[in-house]
């Protein structure tokens, strides 16, 4: 018997993963949540039919969205994580002793419930005493925050679904206000390859660049995302993502990683020419 999960990366490009069995399926108030067991990628979480993470390649995403800002800003103690109900981002952040408080704002409690049950590798640190989970709309949560965080990580789904509000000027402006004077915001910035994704990426970069004095983009290779090629935004009030990297200090922490290295950190900010041009167009 053949069973495949397929996702359209564009109307004309389809990405398929062979499935052994479906472990979970539920329509929450916000989206459809599915978890599959697959031979190549292990367990796979999809929301509204889009791959959010797989056990096989989640480390790339979770390491790159966390260690890059953590290696730049030595004083990060209070962190706001938006989305990320699977727990992967929190899992990386809780490895730092200096982190004293993490607020996790996830719109959909069903995502957390499903991941606790079926993706324990990701959700394993959600019960850390420093982690405080809020199930509410992120725009509403952050409206009330002022100079409260050193780091905000925006781990959203794509900009065409329920996360649309997390790609808006009002949201980035609210993040700016919620950060301290040396704060950093890192967000998943989509893919620059396919046209519709690229346009959305440009729109959000324009809004971030118009909000923060420092706004740079870095990249990673993530096999199960569209084009296998993914971007992150690094927006900051003070720290430069490359010039202010303190590699020795980070290495002294002795954190073992599978993707992130301090050399890769620098390299990830070197972008292909077509992407540099796309970013320049909107800056």
């Amino acid at each position: 018997m053949e069973m495949w999960f397929s996702e359209f990366h564009t109307p004309d490009v389809k990405h398929s993963i062979r499935v052994n069995r479906q472990l979970y399926s539920k329509q929450s108030d916000y989206q459809r949540i599915d978890i599959f067991e697959t031979p190549e990628f292990g367990r796979v979480l999809t929301l509204d039919g889009n791959v959010m993470l797989t056990e096989r390649d989640e480390f790339i995403y979770d390491e790159m969205i966390t260690h890059v800002p953590m290696a730049v800003h030595p004083g990060i103690r209070d962190i706001l994580v938006i989305g990320a109900g699977d727990g992967g981002v929190v899992k990386e952040l809780t490895r730092y002793d200096r982190v004293r408080h993490i607020d996790l704002v996830e719109m959909d409690p069903q995502v957390v419930e499903a991941c606790r049950a079926y993706l324990p590798g990701n959700a394993c640190r959600l019960d850390d005493s420093r982690v405080h989970i809020y199930f509410e709309n992120a725009l509403k949560f952050i409206r009330r925050c002022e100079s409260a965080y050193d780091l905000i990580i925006v781990d959203s789904t794509d900009p065409f679904g329920p996360s649309e509000g997390l790609f808006t000027l009002e949201f980035y402006g609210n993040c700016y206000k919620a950060l301290r004077a040396d704060g950093i915001m890192v967000n998943q910035q989509g893919s620059p390859f396919y046209k519709q994704d690229a346009e959305a990426m440009q729109r959000s970069h324009k809004r971030i660049a118009g909000t923060f004095p420092i706004s740079r983009v870095y990249q990673a290779h993530i096999p199960t995302y569209a084009a296998g090629y993914w971007l992150f935004g690094f927006a900051s009030k003070k720290y430069h993502p490359v010039n202010d990297l303190d590699a020795a200090k980070w290495l002294a922490l002795n954190l073992s990683t599978r993707y992130y290295t301090t050399q890769l950190h620098v390299g990830a900010f070197y972008l292909p020419a077509f992407l540099e041009k796309m970013l320049r167009e909107v800056e």
Binding site: N137, L139, K140, P162, L169, E170, G173, N174
Partner: protein
């Protein structure tokens, strides 16, 4: 109980949608079209079909026996009108395809003839005064009270209406704007009684009040208050297609005469897209309206709380009610006073669209109105509130130079019709002081005239026009699109 139910006259089944059903049947019959429209179910215009969709163009059809005729309804359109009348508690309902403008005009043209006086508030929509231009009736304005802090015109005060009726006992009707754009309601029941006691009709411009017929905790609707006619904008809160509307009439009005009046100006090719949208929307409201509008009101209440928590803004609500000029308030409306953050409403309106990709209904000198409806979701509301918070953080000023909106008492010199058709001349704006205007000047939206034909131009009015232009209000009405000139009567009438 069962017997009592059976003895009641049978009410039409609100689950039905006769026009929609007839169109579905008609589509299945695959009738060969040798009639208009010439696109023939879209086959002849593939670009239009690709844009609007095959489903849509396949029901863009002409009047014919199985689909009835809007000019003289005898079958499915009549049934749809009967269902609408039942759903809205009216004696008769007319499906309208010329916007609520056509409903308002038919209402006025039914009530008034040339030279008749009609009592109305000055802050009416231009369609009302347009109707006076058409029929030659003379307006008797009841000046609305103005809320000093917000600078908005309120409802009609009972004493003012009584005074106007006493001073103009031969007037034929009282027209009430209920609710206003901002959701302010007058004491409609009392005004209906005053009008009827004086032998006058009571007409309601209910363009912003469709939902009043389907809410448990909403202001009284015109039909429930005993009004004789009401113009109901189904395409606003009712969810039907733009340009579709309803005209409702009470027991004192002769429906056949209203039909004749409507047919004076209505198209003979009524759009089935519009009519079926009225039919389907009426069904939705009749079956689910109460829960729908309870949800809209709850969203608006939530948004008011969130906007007021930002600071500086004032999202006003029921606390304004004074049981007279603000007899009641429509809680589904989300109006926000912006002057205290040092920005004109129109400035906030422009920033929302240009910077935040959020389009709201309108902004005037001191306020904005975000239109909430059955189509809204909490996540978009969060965006709106967050954007307002950001606008305050990024753009607030100390308010120097902001004009306070004031009600300008109009000096009506001659009737709108006389002024409109009189010999006129065009004068530069500032040279027109003291002359009688022969055209409209208004910000659109909301479309409430600053000047109407037949009114005297004052320097205060010109100051207001220039300020509104400078702040970016979209001005309409005059022949000169730049509004550097105004048409005035060539000769000032003898005082």
């Amino acid at each position: 109980m069962g017997n009592m139910q059976q003895n009641k006259p049978s009410r039409p089944d609100q689950r039905r949608a006769p026009i929609y059903e007839a169109l579905e049947t008609f589509r299945q019959m695959r009738v060969v079209p040798f009639d208009v429209p010439g696109h023939k179910r879209g086959r002849g215009n593939s670009e239009l079909t690709a844009f609007l969709g095959r489903q849509c163009v396949s029901v863009d059809v002409n009047s014919m026996k199985p689909l009835d005729n809007l000019c003289h309804p005898i079958s499915v359109i009549r049934e749809a009108e009967e269902l609408a009348a039942d759903a809205f508690g009216a004696s008769h309902a007319f499906l309208m395809v010329g916007g609520t403008t056509s409903s308002v005009q038919s209402m006025v043209l039914t009530a008034c003839k040339r030279g008749d006086e009609i009592i109305l508030p000055r802050n009416v929509h231009r369609s009302v005064i347009n109707a006076l231009v058409l029929c030659g009736a003379v307006p008797v304005y009841v000046n609305p009270e103005v809320e000093q802090r917000l600078g908005i015109s309120l409802g009609m005060q009972r004493e003012q209406v009584a005074k106007a009726i006493a001073e103009h006992p031969n007037a034929v009707a009282v027209l009430v704007n209920n609710p206003t754009y901002y959701g302010i309601c007058s004491d409609l029941r009392a005004i209906v009684k005053m009008a009827h006691d004086a032998g006058m009709l009571c007409l309601a411009d209910e363009a912003h009040g469709t939902h009043f017929y389907f809410g448990d905790d909403l202001p009284v609707s015109a039909m429930a208050a005993g009004a004789d006619m009401a113009a109901v904008s189904m395409h606003k809160s009712g969810g039907s297609l733009t340009q579709s509307s309803l005209l409702l009439t009470g027991p004192r009005i002769h429906a056949g005469y209203v039909r004749q009046i409507i047919n004076l100006t209505q198209t003979t090719s009524g759009s089935y897209l519009l009519m079926s949208s009225l039919d389907i929307s009426r069904r939705n409201l009749a079956l689910r309206g109460r829960e729908v509008f309870a949800r809209v009101a709850a969203m608006a209440e939530y948004a008011r709380g969130e906007v007021n928590a930002i600071g500086g803004y004032y999202a006003f609500g029921r606390e304004l009610v004074n049981k007279n000029s603000i007899f009641d308030f429509d809680t589904t409306k989300l109006s926000v006073h912006t002057r205290d953050i040092g920005l004109a409403g129109i400035e906030v309106y422009d920033i929302l669209r240009d910077e935040y990709d959020i389009q709201i209904e309108f902004g005037d000198i001191g306020n904005i109105l975000a239109y909430l409806s059955m189509g809204d979701r909490p996540q978009e509301l969060e965006r709106l509130v967050s954007a307002l918070a950001e606008i305050r953080r990024r753009y607030q000023t100390d308010g120097t130079g902001l004009l306070k909106q004031e009600y300008i008492d109009p000096d009506v010199v001659i009737s709108p019709q006389e002024a409109f058709y009189a010999e006129k001349q065009s004068l530069p704006l500032r040279k027109s002081v003291g002359r009688v205007c022969s055209e409209f000047v208004m910000c659109y939206p909301p479309g409430i005239p600053i000047l109407a034909p037949g009114e005297r131009i004052t320097s205060q009015i010109l100051d207001y026009i220039e300020y509104a232009k400078a702040k970016g209000c979209s001005m309409t009405g005059p022949e000169d699109p730049e509004i550097l000139h105004l048409n005035v009567l060539a000769k000032n009438p003898a005082e």
